[in-house]
Symmetry: D2
Subunit: 358 residues, 4 copies
Amino acid sequence: MSNSFGTLFRVSTFGESHGRGVGAIVDGCPAGIDLKEEDIQKQLDRRRPGQSDLTTPRDEADLVTILSGVESGKTLGTPIGLLVNNKDQRPGDYGEMSQIPRPSHADFTYQVKYGVRARSGGGRSSARETIGRVAAGAIAEKILRDRWGVEIVAWVSSVGSEEANSIDAGQLMRNHVDGNLVRCPDPDSAERMMRLIREVRDAKDSIGGVVSCVCRGLPPGWGEPVFDKLEAILAHAMLSLPATKGFEIGSGFAGTHMRGSQHNDPFIQKGDHLGTVTNRSGGVLGGISNGEPVYFRVAFKPVATIGQDQQTADFRGKSVTLAATGRHDPCVVPRAVPIVETMSALVLLDLALRQERY
Amino acid sequence: MSNSFGTLFRVSTFGESHGRGVGAIVDGCPAGIDLKEEDIQKQLDRRRPGQSDLTTPRDEADLVTILSGVESGKTLGTPIGLLVNNKDQRPGDYGEMSQIPRPSHADFTYQVKYGVRARSGGGRSSARETIGRVAAGAIAEKILRDRWGVEIVAWVSSVGSEEANSIDAGQLMRNHVDGNLVRCPDPDSAERMMRLIREVRDAKDSIGGVVSCVCRGLPPGWGEPVFDKLEAILAHAMLSLPATKGFEIGSGFAGTHMRGSQHNDPFIQKGDHLGTVTNRSGGVLGGISNGEPVYFRVAFKPVATIGQDQQTADFRGKSVTLAATGRHDPCVVPRAVPIVETMSALVLLDLALRQERY
Amino acid sequence: MSNSFGTLFRVSTFGESHGRGVGAIVDGCPAGIDLKEEDIQKQLDRRRPGQSDLTTPRDEADLVTILSGVESGKTLGTPIGLLVNNKDQRPGDYGEMSQIPRPSHADFTYQVKYGVRARSGGGRSSARETIGRVAAGAIAEKILRDRWGVEIVAWVSSVGSEEANSIDAGQLMRNHVDGNLVRCPDPDSAERMMRLIREVRDAKDSIGGVVSCVCRGLPPGWGEPVFDKLEAILAHAMLSLPATKGFEIGSGFAGTHMRGSQHNDPFIQKGDHLGTVTNRSGGVLGGISNGEPVYFRVAFKPVATIGQDQQTADFRGKSVTLAATGRHDPCVVPRAVPIVETMSALVLLDLALRQERY
Amino acid sequence: MSNSFGTLFRVSTFGESHGRGVGAIVDGCPAGIDLKEEDIQKQLDRRRPGQSDLTTPRDEADLVTILSGVESGKTLGTPIGLLVNNKDQRPGDYGEMSQIPRPSHADFTYQVKYGVRARSGGGRSSARETIGRVAAGAIAEKILRDRWGVEIVAWVSSVGSEEANSIDAGQLMRNHVDGNLVRCPDPDSAERMMRLIREVRDAKDSIGGVVSCVCRGLPPGWGEPVFDKLEAILAHAMLSLPATKGFEIGSGFAGTHMRGSQHNDPFIQKGDHLGTVTNRSGGVLGGISNGEPVYFRVAFKPVATIGQDQQTADFRGKSVTLAATGRHDPCVVPRAVPIVETMSALVLLDLALRQERY
């Protein structure tokens, strides 16, 4: 239970990794919005596996169908049903794992929690689960852009210890990010990252990384004190993504080293409104957007499924060697970029609708 | 809106910093539990201001009254009303600020969002808002301890750049933490931290820090995929606390540097159950507790209210110098320790009740 | 669990019949609204016991205190804490009942559900629980009236078999309703009803009745298909009141006898908008208000607590005679009038805020 | 917004009357339950149009597909996606109505609320919307039956003024109900009802009716005071069904005529537990099941869409004659029987899971 997210713009997702299909219902989408399947497909294409040699070879077209809620290219205000069929099902890949829980994977906890597991692995813990979110979030993005001019751009800021050189988030666009396979807008950094991913892939290993994200154009006033602060819901959203281990907004952990006199963002008149000189707050004050860009970073661990042999124990506690054979990404962060963006859009649109009329 | 937290064990809080009182309603508390006001008072005492020269001089006894839901020392299963009266109200302190939004404080965003503000500052953005959470969380803690043996211990692991020497979280108890004013269980580290806080205080400045927390004794199975993963709800809870900027669980951001083959936690038989050799996962797999300790870290920025003059702008955009006169903590992390603990308890008990019968 | 009601205007209530106090937190109240304790007190006074010889002699002033959320007579947008102290506590009255569950009362089910009960009877099943609702609903009423001109008027339309003569709901005002003790706006009918109540009271018995309610001035568009239809939420609200057994809107059960050609409400231009010639729909079409008055009726059973001896069984199943001695109303409908009104206001304001900006 | 229902067993539905398909996601279904598409299909077959000459001639097989959440015939604990394709789409039928809102239909209110409407009528106000509920509720029924032995049986107790002769709800089974086309278990009454429906149908008119329902086998303890009383949630559920105008539980409106001394249900030992001699309460005390059968009645108005000419106004207020040509049922109650049953199951299972472990 808890396959729904959002208060006024609410997405409910369904679908196992190797079942008939995955999808979502989007409830609370305003009526009268122009919406076509292509609007959604774009982000699904950026998320889908098999895009390059950096990602899992599992090949899925991931074509979305709108089942309801849209007529003649306009939303009706009724729930939008979204379906993506699964094509490339290979349950055979996962045979051995029925007895051996993969280390750092959800096989063990699903078995304990439910007393039963999808044959083919972690079921809903699969990265494939994110398709429903991306499809729904692509709708949210469109609304945020069309109605408020909000732009959300994520990028890979590190792979392992390879950190991106300084990026100017103020002007960054998605086409910059998509200029290379690893989705790091600095070409030199991207080169280093891709080299590392290929090395890791060839070693049948995996590697972690960090996705950064900026959301520009929010008006002040979005976010609900006390428990639904903008950063709290963002953190919730990001830590609900598979393989995430950390979230920081604005100055983040580095900001704990600073003094208040250095860290505070002084106010200043900017054109017709009050802005801040610096933005260590990351666009939020007291949980409410202040009109400056919201920026944050998300830590992704190295994928648990690896091609190397692993010493571990089976479900009965017997020591065994596990040789994983399922297909996997050596590094998830390039494909995580559209997931972080669309998930952010779900957060922001929901808070927008709680504050403003569409 | 959003002054409630939790699904089955649900707390709703109320109260401004300088109004008549603050408090909470706890809905969903199981019936038949032994509960006295002292059970709650203990954590309120650890949270209250005026404890030492390291904290704000505002003096509040913060005595809690149980208004309902308990009879003859037993919970009835009905909502528990909790009230703490405000005593030391000095609205006069905040006069100048009605025209000047404090930098990095919620004055500005509350004004924009609501078109009106509590005279005396940020209203619900005050640290005083956390009293309702702590009172409710103290009840949750007691239930977790009595029913499942869950122990939650938080401590200060850094103040500014003063990092604590290595702490063994496996055995750490609250009396170790409370052995010094800064609530760092390593005495040498504590000494360094306290020196820094006093230096900052004397400079009329503030400083950030990190609170670490371990939750021991959870059975496997707590946490709800997809959107209500244990770490997602924890992140939500922590980023909803005033002044927080980051959250990481298990290996966190450092884990992004590792390879899967190093990062994975192999399984091993531990007595009568399956455990893991290492715990880089921080006690969660796929959003569900795996039986290992849950540990995480929370970043607190330096308090925005400082005693130094600050160059900033007033609400009309005019450049001004603000000399803050309100009382404040030079560093919030010592008092944040019981807040992090009780907030964790709210998260864990809610997930426990979603998985298990009381 | 479930002591909260509403999505965007949300009330959470607490308090046992004979504990320290009862009250509520109202979350989601718009900021900047003029609000004084008197605004709330008016409906509490109409609800309070001891108003006349028709009601329970339990005497409670039921004075409300606003604990938070209001400053200088304006709402802050933060939660409004509301407290009413219990004064006239007589737990002694209920001694015998600890062994004998009162017939048709909640003593039995609370004991089974919670394994424990408030000494003094049904705890939250007491009519006293409705104080929190009335206080919160009085705020909702004020907002509906000030912002949209919505008027809500309830009245007693039957007591036992004494039915009120025809009432013109189109112009009915609260002062008409309060023109007599039984709150039936037709004086002759009121006379018959009061005679019956006094007869029943003298026989140490109780009697049921029906409260009718009209809500005028709603714009079209309030109510959310599919599950949160206006009539569905109203029915939920009304059946959550103590002692209610039925709800009907518009033509109700009588409408089932009609043919579509008779029952349908034809459209007609009314001034600048489309209205209907008749209003058998009771102001809703497809769960959404259509701009015509919303009217509905609520059935209240005879109060379970009576002064006569009753043959029943104790908790162990032994046949016993129960002579109830607690104070009670011979007929709840006169005091139910403000409860139905304020509960309707909670429903309508919540749906209003889901549809419109305040 | 509000296409979801339930707290722990939660159904979210989607789908317009004439779009690609309708369906639901069921979240919170316990794991390890035997479930096949046939288990669901049975109730869909009882609900589907075109069953006899008493129902709409629209012909839909309404075959359900399980998209996710079930593997090898067992539920996984993950969301169950359910899809029913629409086959018999005839948007052409509804041409005239784009300018003329059908009297007592949702055309008008959808247009006002959303500013746009499904071409083909009321969209989500269509009876076709109930397919998702029935499919989800059929799962809930199975769990209630297998786990707790709960039996839910609804039947037609009146059509227009044709009331059923006395029915013994204590032993009533679905095969008795399905013994005739009108689903009234008393053959003589059924005969009278069917005669009336055919007469109404031939007159191109429609007629209302009442569905009664009994739920047997609930243990005491289900239902949550204060706002989520069993009867409150049932009333909510029933009034959320299309065309419903009233709900009563136990003695209902008739009970308002009684005195407490007549109405109260005395307790009595029944085998190993405490029961009641009579059951005017309808199985609930203080909102909590008391172990006696829950019984209630639901009023359905005559269907708004009729084949006769109607004098009304178009959207611009111009007086017009509307000759409806869409297919419709002359009386909805026979097909409403499985809808009332499955909707009851959604209510009961949700309350069961809030009280008990599966």
